[in-house]
Amino acid sequence: MKWLSTRRALALMIAPAFAVYSLYFAYPIGYSLYQSFTNAQAFGSTKLVGGKNYVQMVRDTLFWGSLRNTGIILLVSLVILLPGAFFLAHLLSGRVKGAGALRAMIFAPNVIAPILIGLIWVFILDPHIGLVNSLLHTLGVQHPPVWIGGTTLSPWSIGVVYTWQTVGFIMTIFYAGIRMLPHDVMEAASLDGATGWQRLRYVTVPMLQETFGITTVLVVTGVFKIFELVFQLTGGGPVHLSETLVSYTYWMTFSNQKYGYGMALAVVISLLGVVVTVAQMAFMRRRRAS
């Protein structure tokens, strides 16, 4: 290999990727970092203001509101999505006819454009034309809840939609974990007369600890990146009550045109992403070590 690795050859192989990636990925991150310390806006001159944007964030009730909504979505995901996905993986690793086809169907929402998922759920949750409220009306409910667009329920609904979008993906990871469980342990447990329920509780769940760790990390990173669902279902409204971190950052930057502050928000989101990803890598390493 050595004599083929001339400087020129190496440069030719790496240069195209290096150029595109540096210009459209690395440089923009630096630019954002720099802008987050300025008062850049649509009009007026830009000057450095130090950490003012970051201090402003602490007092920004809309920022805390978007953080709270992101937290609600995360809560819904951890309470419904994780156990639901595990339960499905367990069910579909048993002897169910056509389990493979069922798994494929449950996974499908992961490959549909998130913006289309948003639109599909408008038809389900919309207070006037949505399927849910049509059914409730039919059942004689006079004033069914305002699932989206109201002042309180939106983040909870978005959590449910996100759960629907992601459950197949998380289920697949649990399924892979279940398939990798050592055969003989299960065998021994059933020969010792453990019921299915006991096997699940004392063998499967404890042995899947790592998988639970990974899926938790994936759900957390996923929730912090939710954008399209909010954009399509509520637009962040009314009066920013249903914004999440990303949708609020988007609004601040592109609609409100406060670039400096918007970039500061983007930097905070990225830092959250980096922290969780580093945690994820630590998990992986521990897993490989074991």
Binding site: F18, S32, V111, I115, L119, F123, H183, F227, T249, V278
Partner: protein
């Protein structure tokens, strides 16, 4: 939950050998019923949109659960007023160019970073880290700077304005997958080719690249899905209706159709079904590729 004891398989695997107590009779257990029910509920939202796209708009507003008058009317409305063909064409152009270029340049970079010999190994290590660090960064921090950059470079309003960030954001994952695969790749094949007098070009393109078919297939599919579904860059960087992509188009359906829900649902179906068909064909690759990072410990 306690019904799980009736799931009955001795072992939680379909391919399990018969248990020592002899083969069990298959029966439709509670587990199966629950599994079918849950799956039915989960595909209902998609089925609902498809079903309602055949309803008249009045029916959707008044009596959506009455399926006695189904027709294709919404589809002719959607096809004749919506520029679906333009959206598909734009998305296809973006996908073909950014994915093919992206996969090729990720491969050459990954090959150099794993197989070739640097005079300073430290440089090779830091370059590898440089490319893979992108995996940790959410793309949202790039939106505004990339928008500015495109204006500076005079690319705003062209396909290149989207193609370049699409290549850049996919690079870290592509490089990761190629480097991972190359690491498990036996060196003898290359040695033999070098002895036969192969140059770098022949070696990387004629010898190694064809042997990477499974990775390339996975990457092509995942990258195409990414571009196909991509929305944040599209909504930020496209200012010209003639360049609308599928995702961007979908986000405008509500504004476009306002109260014609039938046509809106027909439009949504015309976007949904091709995506599902594509997934159906390449399902194995898609699932394996998407879960690769998480499952491959």
């Amino acid at each position: 939950m306690s019904t799980l004891s009736t799931t009955a398989p001795r072992l939680a695997r379909p391919d399990a050998p018969p248990s020592p107590r002899g083969p069990r009779r298959r029966r439709l257990g509670i587990a199966a019923i629950v599994a079918y029910l849950v799956t039915f509920v989960l595909i209902l939202p998609m089925a609902w949109v498809v079903l309602l796209s055949f309803q008249s708009n009045d029916n959707i507003l008044r009596d959506p659960l009455n399926f006695s008058h189904l027709s294709w009317a919404n589809y002719s409305t959607a096809m004749s007023t919506l520029n679906l063909m333009t959206m598909y064409k734009n998305t296809l152009i973006l996908a073909v160019v950014s994915v093919s270029v992206g996969v090729v340049i990720s491969f050459t970079a990954a090959y150099a970073l794993t197989r070739m010999v640097f005079r300073r190994p430290g440089l090779q290590k830091s370059l590898r880290f440089y490319f893979l660090a992108g995996l940790a960064i959410p793309v949202y921090i790039l939106l505004f700077p990339v928008y500015k950059l495109n204006i500076e470079l005079g690319l705003y309003g062209t396909y290149a304005a989207l193609i370049l960030p699409y290549i850049a954001t996919q690079l870290p994952f592509n490089v990761l997958l190629f480097t991972g695969f190359l690491a498990d790749f036996p060196g003898e094949i290359e040695e033999a080719a070098i002895i036969d007098g192969a140059g770098l070009f022949t070696l990387s393109w004629r010898v190694v690249f064809p042997l990477m078919r499974p990775v390339i297939a996975t990457l092509l599919i995942l990258n195409i899905i990414y571009v196909w579904n991509e929305f944040p860059f599209a909504v930020t960087l496209i200012n010209n209706p003639a360049m609308t992509t599928i995702s961007l188009g979908v986000s405008q359906f509500q504004g476009f159709w306002t109260v014609d829900y039938g046509a809106m649902m027909a439009s949504a179906t015309l976007v949904l079904l091709p995506q599902l068909a594509l997934y159906g064909i390449f399902q194995r690759y898609v699932v394996a590729g998407m879960t690769f990072g998480a499952v491959k410990g």
